[in-house]
Amino acid sequence: MVIAEDRIEPPNTQALLALAQEGNTQAFCRLVQPLEARLLRQAAALCHDPSAAEDLASETLIEAWRSLGRYNGTCRLSTWLYAILLHRCQKSIRRARCRPIPLAWLPFFDAGKHEETHNNLPAQGPTPAGAVEQQELAGELRRAIATLPPKHRDVILLRFFEDASLRDMASVLGCSAGTVKSRLHHALGKLRKMNLNLSEASWDTWT
């Protein structure tokens, strides 16, 4: 289960960041090492396929390395990485529309959902039936979010998957805090109108 952690950044982040921005690859690796697990989990939530998630996360880190000069420290490094991850994910969806590739590679696609659920049943935690229910609800949420326009999907994922503040979201999305508020409101309103089958009991048991 997941950790509400990863605000963890290395103690000498600023020094490592300065070194990495000068082109030191070792410093960059040490800088992002504590965030790798978090990034993989976030990618897995989008892709639902472990190998696609790994590809997405590594593409994100390589892209982050290339554009590290644009990181100006106005938001958390993890939020900045997550914004890149969302952008790469959107790109891969666009690419997938133009190219015939196995459907299981597509982000947001739930092929083999049940098979994977049974393979990944946790040793402790919810019962097998509960785990399947969790997966189904997660799939429903994932599909609902996939239907949102990118600008609405990004704020929802940044808020609930990255726990980003308004200021951080505004910084990585390049818009004002007021715009982020409005997008968040509309995104939640759209999800509410989809009448997802979410009883309070179902998500209470997850936590």
Binding site: Q21, R159, F160
Partner: protein, 204 residues
């Protein structure tokens, strides 16, 4: 409840809905939260709305928390670190500008103007192309039409002067025009209503 009261109530709820969404998402400040909660205490419709959003945001938070962890494998770590090392070796990576120089002086004013305005510029280009297309596809029609419809300025001026002269002579030729008109017009053949309703029989 009067019309104005109803109007005020709905306006107030409409304004509060965004705050309630943000409350459910957990991004309000303490004072904003207090104001939103005060409204919730007074409005049952908004309470129902907030409850739905709270369920939704709870499910979203739980989904993120229950997504299984993926521990980074050594092979995966090696793969991406090798990629960035090779980029560095191939010199395809340029040293990043320092944080102090984020307002880059090498960026010229026109580059700064173009940055972030791609959509607007594309729209302008589209409008320009459409205008050009219509202009190129129908030039002759518009020219002939304009030639037929609009005489030269000199002719216009002459016509205007003639009209002015005729108008100034108008009182000098009384009843000429109306008489002519009445001659040209066909005679009226409207039957008298009395004959239709059998007026003759009444008279007799």
């Amino acid at each position: 409840m009067g019309y104005m009261d109803m109007k005020r109530l709905f306006a107030s709820c409409g304004k509060q809905r965004q705050q309630l969404s943000l409350l459910a998402a957990g991004v309000l400040t303490a004072s904003e939260r207090a104001a939103a909660e005060a409204h919730l205490a007074a409005c049952s419709d908004c309470r129902r709305y907030y409850h739905e959003l709270r369920t939704l945001s709870g499910a979203l938070s739980s989904w993120s928390k229950t997504t299984p962890d993926m521990e980074p494998t050594a092979a995966w770590h090696d793969r991406w670190t090798r990629s960035i090392h090779s980029e560095k070796r191939n010199n395809s990576w340029q040293p990043a500008p320092s944080r102090a120089s984020t307002s880059n002086p090498s960026v010229t004013w026109w580059q700064a103007l173009l940055t972030g305005r791609r959509g607007a510029l594309a729209g302008l280009a589209g409008v320009w192309m459409l205008t050009l297309f219509f202009w190129l596809t129908a030039p002759e029609v518009s020219q002939t039409a304009s030639q037929g419809a609009l005489p030269a300025p000199r002719e216009l001026l002459q016509a205007f002067m003639t009209r002015e002269r005729l108008l100034s002579q108008w009182p000098a030729i009384p009843n000429a025009a109306p008489e002519n008109k009445s001659v040209d017009r066909p005679p009226k053949t409207v039957p008298s209503p009395r004959s239709d309703y059998g007026g003759n029989s009444l008279m007799s």
